[in-house]
């Protein structure tokens, strides 16, 4: 268990600047996700933390100790790779025990600790299997056991689940998280999958083009995206253009045929702004309810979990996501009323 801090990391490959001064810290035992599209620099950050890559400037601190110049084999961080990175010439036991062997742990203790680690990832008895004969999910469990058996200060996970199919991935998400809670290792998880980040993390850092867009707990990041990019990347949000208005001390984003309440965070009355609203925060209401806006429903699309309603509000496109019991009775090309709470709306200057 250890606290991790990263200060002002900068890194360029050739003339491409992939990290433009990234700083953050992770409390001991926390699970942090670095989330962003490919090329945002998230994997580079991970490789710098474990020492496989050197930063052009900036520092990495583990429990306040500067490890920036320490060679990777001395850092004591465990990394799980996207493609598992198991050694094909060794069996499961040798793979998992390799780190202990390098630390000159006696053979009996290695055998015992490997057995325990395999038990933890539910692969008890797999010691003598060839790694090439395991399924993707099993290989990733072996990789996880290999990273955890040495009891690393920091556990780093580099998109470990993206090569797995959907069902195995969901199981592994749950297992990794519960294992991490049990062991309490400080963990940094890299992913481009917003759902994965939201379900697994204590804390999310959203990265875009080598810079931090937003930092926070999953709920805040999702419900109050700080930038236009954030609102779009974490599940598609609707962006509605309007003017910032103030009526009787309350603030709204209003336009032709709609008025959405917001919590005031800055700006002047009359400013052209964009409001970001997630489709699932709308609720149906009647015309005379407080905050009701007319919504024209063009068509309904069934997505399994919910209905996706495609329509317009005041002439602007607005997608609403509604559970079955609300949307089943609606018909295409109809007019209804919807409203939303101000805490679920964020607005940005144009």
């Amino acid at each position: 268990m250890a606290e991790l801090a990263v200060n002002e990391l900068r890194k360029s490959f050739g003339d491409k600047e992939v990290l433009k001064g990234v700083s953050f810290n992770v409390k001991s035992g926390n699970f942090l996700s670095l989330l962003g599209p490919s090329g945002c620099g998230k994997s580079t950050i991970l490789r710098i933390i474990c020492g496989l890559e050197t930063a052009d400037s900036g520092e990495v601190l583990v429990d306040g100790r500067d490890v920036t110049k320490i060679r990777p084999e001395k850092r004591g961080s465990g990394l799980v790779f996207q493609n598992y990175a198991l050694v094909p010439s060794m069996n499961v036991e040798k793979n998992v025990g390799y780190g202990l062997k390098m630390r000159k742990v006696p053979q009996e203790e290695i055998t015992q600790r490997v057995a325990e680690a395999l038990e933890q990832v539910k692969l008890g008895g797999y010691q003598n299997r060839k790694v090439t004969q395991l399924s993707g999910g099993e290989q990733q469990r072996v990789a996880l056991a290999r990273a955890l058996v040495t009891k690393p200060d920091i556990l780093l996970l580099d998109e470990p689940l993206s090569a797995l199919d959907r069902k195995v991935r969901a199981e592994m998400q749950y297992e990794i998280r519960s294992l991490q809670r049990k062991i309490g290792t400080t963990t940094v998880f890299v992913t481009h999958d917003q759902e994965e980040a939201l379900t697994m993390s204590d804390q999310i850092i959203l990265l875009y083009k080598g810079e931090i867009e937003q930092m926070g707990d999953p709920y805040t990041i999702y419900s109050q995206p700080a930038t236009v990019f954030a609102s779009d990347f974490l599940g598609k949000a609707n962006l509605i253009s309007g003017k910032l208005t103030n009526e009787g001390g309350k603030w709204y984003v209003a336009g032709d045929g709609f008025r959405i309440p917001v919590n005031y965070v800055g700006g002047q009355e009359g400013d052209e702004v964009k409001a970001a609203v997630r489709g699932e925060y709308f609720e149906f209401c009647s015309a005379d309810d407080e905050g009701a806006n007319p919504y024209h429903l063009t068509t309904r699309i069934f997505t399994g979990l919910a209905w996706r309603l495609v329509g317009t509000m005041g002439g602007q496109a607005l997608d609403i996501s509604a559970l079955g019991n609300h949307a089943n009775t609606l018909s295409d090309d109809s007019d209804v009323y919807v409203r939303i709470r101000p805490e679920n709306v964020v607005y940005y200057n144009n």
């Binding site: 474990c50 020492g51 496989l52 990777p72 084999e73 001395k74 850092r75 961080s77 465990g78 990394l79 790779f81 493609n83 990175a85 198991l86 050694v87 094909p88 010439s89 390799y98 780190g99 390098m102 630390r103 090439t132 990789a143 290999r146 040495t150 090569a163």
Partner: protein, 273 residues
Amino acid sequence: MTSKGFRRTMMVCLWIVLAFMYIPIIVIIGMSFNGARYGMFPYQPTLRWYAELFTTSDLLPTCWFSIKFALLVTLAAVILGTMTAFGLQAYAPKWAKRFNFVLQLPIIIPWLVTSISLLLLFSFIGTGRSMISMFLGNLIVVFPYVVLLVNGRFEAMDRTPESAARLLGASPSRVFFDITTPAITPGILAGGIMAMIMCFNNFVVQYYLVPIGTNTLPTLVFTRIRAEYKADLNALSAIIVLAAVVLVIVLSKLGFSAGSLFGMGGGTKKKGE
């Protein structure tokens, strides 16, 4: 022509090529047991040539010398070639490609040209025709093949287990022996076999660089065929063919097929799987 007829023609073509490749070898094995003068008919079964080969003939000692020489060259080529391929991979792909091109270029330069220029060079630096010159000359000729095959293996292998081993506490040299070497062994074996064979029968280079008064197997065979033809050469050829067949069988029993050795990953799994 129907497609069936077309396919059949191609299949016949395969048989003709196979026959062309193997009939001479079968003939020489047959002739090694023929007692008739100049390997002519009528066929007289005999073991005379084998007896002569193992007693009075100078072929066998020279053959041993050539084998030992080829092994030495192979050992040097494999070590240097593996180090070179590793070094190549440490460069960014753009530069690795350029270096690789420069390294492979000598393969297409005729040995005749290489040999003459080497003889000129060695005469100039004073080693002339000597064992050291012949060693270096053969090494230079076989070296690109080792790099080619080992580098191919490097490019086909997944490099992330090496990073993983570093993070688990292994030093770079430890990683090389524990992780990298097992993964590139097929390439090293293939490169070694290639180097061994090319060095063993490289007449051109050896003809120019062999010390006066010494013979390697190729130069001895060359002078003997000009002077007189004796069938103990057939006996030696038959033994060499047998040795090659045994080598191939042993390798395939060890799990290496020609495809997995010389291919860019045939018989092994693709990256990341």
